[in-house]
């Protein structure tokens, strides 16, 4: 039983009855696809951002830091940092204060980086989009792989003793001057703060969803099914690394990229390659690198990007062999 069956009924009515479009025409199928996918994704987005907002209100980032700094967890701290990264909404503008706040708050560099990797890579918006467009199985594989990447890459980076490559001003910053026990004076109720956080995210991405799904719908309706097989050729061993290396510098909203990715998969590009491309796009980017350059020397920045890029390429091959 498809939970979204009523949405399909509505999309069919909207496209074929109200607008009188032909179900087998390109325009008809594109519009139908657009209406169905947009409604489905926006509903999922509202649900998941509320869920994440609830977790995030219960475990605010300041408490997370306190917990990670005070407890010896014998390696489990990488997993915890990475899981907490997934429920923390990521804004690249917060990455710098977050990074310093963690490192100077006594959290090991590797654990901080695990958090920094998983936060954009596995995020509520990404999960909602994947669920809506690719289904539960692909979403589960993506989420588990994303967490694995951040744990493993964080662990490796932690073992490399890269602390000396923090920017000098960060090293000079005295940790005990920081106000670690910041208590938030929350004056709004739990439900209100969850909802306002969820709607903040919703407002930030809904436009990208519309544009992304619109482009995806266009590809679905107008690009011939065997287009990529004819023009690009079957996937070869290099397609994963090339897709990842193209995706790394790109900065794009997951909400815009995922619908296009789904349409490309429907037209014959292999799923694993596309997932790896998506990970590279949402996980790393030039603007994020420029932000982090303020707190890292280039040795650390390059190692960080290198290890994560390598891990994403590896997962691309894993995706292609199991999906």
């Amino acid at each position: 039983m498809d939970l979204f069956y009523p949405v399909q009924v509505f999309a069919d009515w909207f496209t074929y009855q109200l607008f009188g479009l032909d179900a087998v025409s390109r325009l008809g199928s594109s519009v139908n696809f657009f209406v169905y996918d947009t409604i489905k994704i926006l509903v999922l987005l509202l649900l998941i951002t509320h869920l994440m907002g609830a977790v995030n209100t219960l475990f605010p980032i300041e408490k997370v830091r306190e917990y990670l700094a005070k407890n010896k967890l014998f390696g489990l701290e990488y997993v915890i940092a990475s899981l907490l990264g997934t429920v923390t909404p990521f804004c690249s503008c917060s990455s710098v204060p977050l990074f310093i706040g963690f490192v100077k708050g006594g959290i090991p560099l590797g654990v901080t980086l695990a958090f920094l990797i998983s936060s954009p890579l596995v995020d509520g918006v990404v999960i909602a989009m994947l669920l809506g467009l690719f289904g539960a199985k692909v979403t589960a594989v993506y989420v588990l792989t994303g967490i694995a990447i951040s744990v493993i890459a964080g662990y490796i980076l932690g073992k490399l003793n890269l602390e000396r490559y923090l920017a000098d001003w960060v090293t000079a910053l005295e940790g005990d001057k920081l106000n670690l026990g910041t208590e938030h004076t929350e004056n709004s109720s739990f439900i209100r703060s969850v909802s306002s956080e969820a709607f903040t995210i919703f407002k930030r991405v809904y436009l990208y969803v519309l544009v992304g799904v619109g482009l995806g719908a266009f590809i679905h309706g107008y690009v011939p099914t065997d287009f990529f097989e004819t023009h690009v050729g079957a996937d070869n061993v290099w397609s994963v690394p090339i897709a990842v290396l193209v995706g790394v510098p790109l900065y794009a909203s997951a909400a815009g990229v995922i619908p296009i990715a789904q349409a490309l998969v429907a037209k014959g590009i292999s799923l694993g390659t596309i997932l790896a491309f998506m990970m590279a796009t949402v996980g790393l980017s030039v603007p994020e690198g420029l932000m982090l350059k303020k707190v890292m020397k280039w040795q650390l920045l390059v190692t960080f990007f290198g290890v994560v890029t390598f891990a994403i390429i590896l997962s691309g091959y894993i995706f292609n062999s199991i999906l």
Binding site: C91, C93, S94, V96, P97, I100, N179, M291
Partner: protein, 79 residues
């Protein structure tokens, strides 16, 4: 009344600064709105998320992007 918007210079922070200026104008408050991008200062305040909106040195909002109307509510709540 001193109002400050602290951020790392990203789009969200700039928009909050603009919204705050407009809110102050619409409420015709006697206040100067300052925009601070000194990361060190944000860190010393102990916050991990940006942007931050402060009124007379007290943070009234950390993270998130309120609309002009919501900023007005926040500012009115501090009077």
């Amino acid at each position: 009344m001193t109002i400050q918007v602290l951020g790392s210079g990203c789009m969200t922070c700039k928009t909050l600064f603009e919204n705050t200026k407009q809110a102050v104008a619409e409420l015709s408050l006697d206040a100067e709105v300052e925009y601070i991008t000194d990361i060190q200062k944000i860190i010393e305040m102990g916050y991990l998320k940006t942007p931050i909106l402060t009124v007379n040195g007290n943070a009234v909002l950390v993270g998130g992007l309120p609309s002009v109307e919501e900023v007005k509510e926040l500012l009115e709540g501090t009077e």
